[in-house]
Amino acid sequence: MKSVITVLSEQVKYFYLLRRLALYEIKIANKNNYLGLAWELINPAIQIFIYWFIFGFGIRERQPIEGDPFFPWMLSGIVIWFFFNPSIIEGSKSIFQRVKMLSKMNFPMSLIPNIIIFSKFYSHIGLLVIVMVLLNFLGYPISIYYLQLPLYIFGGYLFIFSVSLITSTLNTFIRDLQMFLQATLRMLLYMTPILWATSSLPVWIQTVFKINPLYYLVEGYRYSLLGKEWYFINHWEYTLYFCAVTFVLLLIGSVMHVKFRRRFIDFI
């Protein structure tokens, strides 16, 4: 518990540093491209088009899904995927890539995964706004249900941060983890109702799918953006489950991080 407080208080105390370094992160990533920052949006746009074409236009033959047209249905869920996927991948690499350039040991090490996540968060907010505008044109206007969205954004952020604390620590001595993560994430995309609705499956399989916390986040985003219901209240058991999982992961991540952080540089 003490580790959790250490880690979280570092995030608060060095928030200014976090924000500035996250901006540099974006700068470094897009420096060599002519289109620069625009790639943060072009890339998701291309993927969304392909997924829509294959799953919506092709496989589903333009039929509605769970009572909604496919495109807005997919858009409202996939938006968090473009935050989740790169944050987890880059977040896990963050420490071993950067530890060497830290010229001082008293740099708050737990900031490093968060810098990456925060830099992805900027483009997530951008993408989210665009998705909201699009949905307005597609017949899903702003509704009272938007109010629950910050909960899922915050929950999602905390979940990604907790996972990254664990993976970035493990990654300093087990580099194979990166391969494992990539494979898992590729699988997760299809195990979550992002591109297809899982409601056609037997109930027990759906329950198994729901073990995956990303499931909760995707549904939460979707119900808010499409203005359907108060998801976190109507599914309060699932909300509790998500909170519990996130907290346990945060606990494990913080303990591991604090335990090993002095020795990171020795491992590499």
């Binding site: 010229s103 001082k104 040991m105 020795d266 491992f267």
Partner: protein
């Protein structure tokens, strides 16, 4: 006299593993795996404020390890290091981002060192002026020559006004004029009463600059004292050591280490 660096009984142990699974086992289990390698053994010394201390020793003596531990970059395995004030380690082109311009690197580095925007704005012209990069300051660092990189690294490290400065072989790169400039900067630091740790192979620089010499040999302190006492001994030793053949050097190393173990 106030002590600014107190190093007592510092030991640094590296592990050498035969394979990667040993590494994981070593981290997870109490029982140690892998072979121990001592980069430093029971190193103790103290430095007073305003002194310049030089680390000398042949390759692999542990000079860089020791300076990294004092700078707080590497953790020590056992023993303790007390350092009073801010430490700045100057190594060649340390931690520059290749993709960013010189100016952006200055900002980034200063941010990481804990400066705020306003302070960085004040520091920036001074750093740029010292680094003498001209137009290149707004070019990505990957287009720099190695001399330019080290100039930039050096300029950042000295401009942040640390209390303790560790220079790890950084003065041996770059041209004469710049080395002279760095030397003058170091002298002014010395006059201001800052503590300087100086790692170099060059006994000429040591003679000019250092007050005290710490002579390291295979990770332990061989001699520690004023430069007048130590440097002649060291030069004598180096002359002899250079004459030895490779196998004799190896034998010498083994003899010393055996002596250490038997106490």
């Amino acid at each position: 006299m106030e002590k600014t660096i107190i190093v007592s009984n510092v030991t640094k142990k590296h592990k050498l593993y035969d394979n990667t699974s040993d590494k994981i086992k070593d981290i997870l289990f109490r029982k140690g795996y892998g072979e121990d390698f001592y980069a430093l053994r029971n190193v103790s010394f103290e430095v007073n404020r305003g002194e310049v201390i030089g680390f000398v020793g042949v390759n692999g003596a542990g000079k860089s390890t020791l300076s990294n531990i004092i700078a707080g970059i590497l953790p020590e395995t056992s023993g303790s290091v007390t350092v009073k004030g801010d430490v700045s380690l100057i190594a060649i082109a340390a931690g520059l981002k290749e993709n960013l311009t010189g100016r952006e690197n200055i900002e980034l580095k200063c941010l990481m060192l804990g400066f705020n925007k306003k302070e960085i704005q004040q520091l920036e012209p001074e750093i740029i002026e010292f680094a003498e990069l001209g137009k290149f300051i707004d070019q990505p660092v990957k287009s720099y020559s190695s001399g330019m990189k080290s100039r930039l690294g050096f300029a950042i490290s000295v401009s942040i006004d640390p209390d303790i400065i560790i220079i790890d072989e950084a003065l041996s790169v770059g041209d004469k004029a710049f080395a002279e400039k760095c030397f003058n900067k170091m002298k002014s630091f010395k006059e201001k009463g800052k503590t300087i740790v100086f790692v170099s192979h060059s006994t000429v620089q040591m003679k000019k600059f250092a007050d005290k010499i710490l002579w390291l040999e295979f990770g332990r302190v061989k001699e520690y004292g004023t430069k007048e006492e130590i440097l002649p001994l060291y030069e004598e030793f180096i002359k002899e050591y250079k004459k030895l053949s490779k196998s004799e050097k190896e034998k010498y190393r083994e003899d010393v280490l055996r002596q250490l173990e038997t106490g």
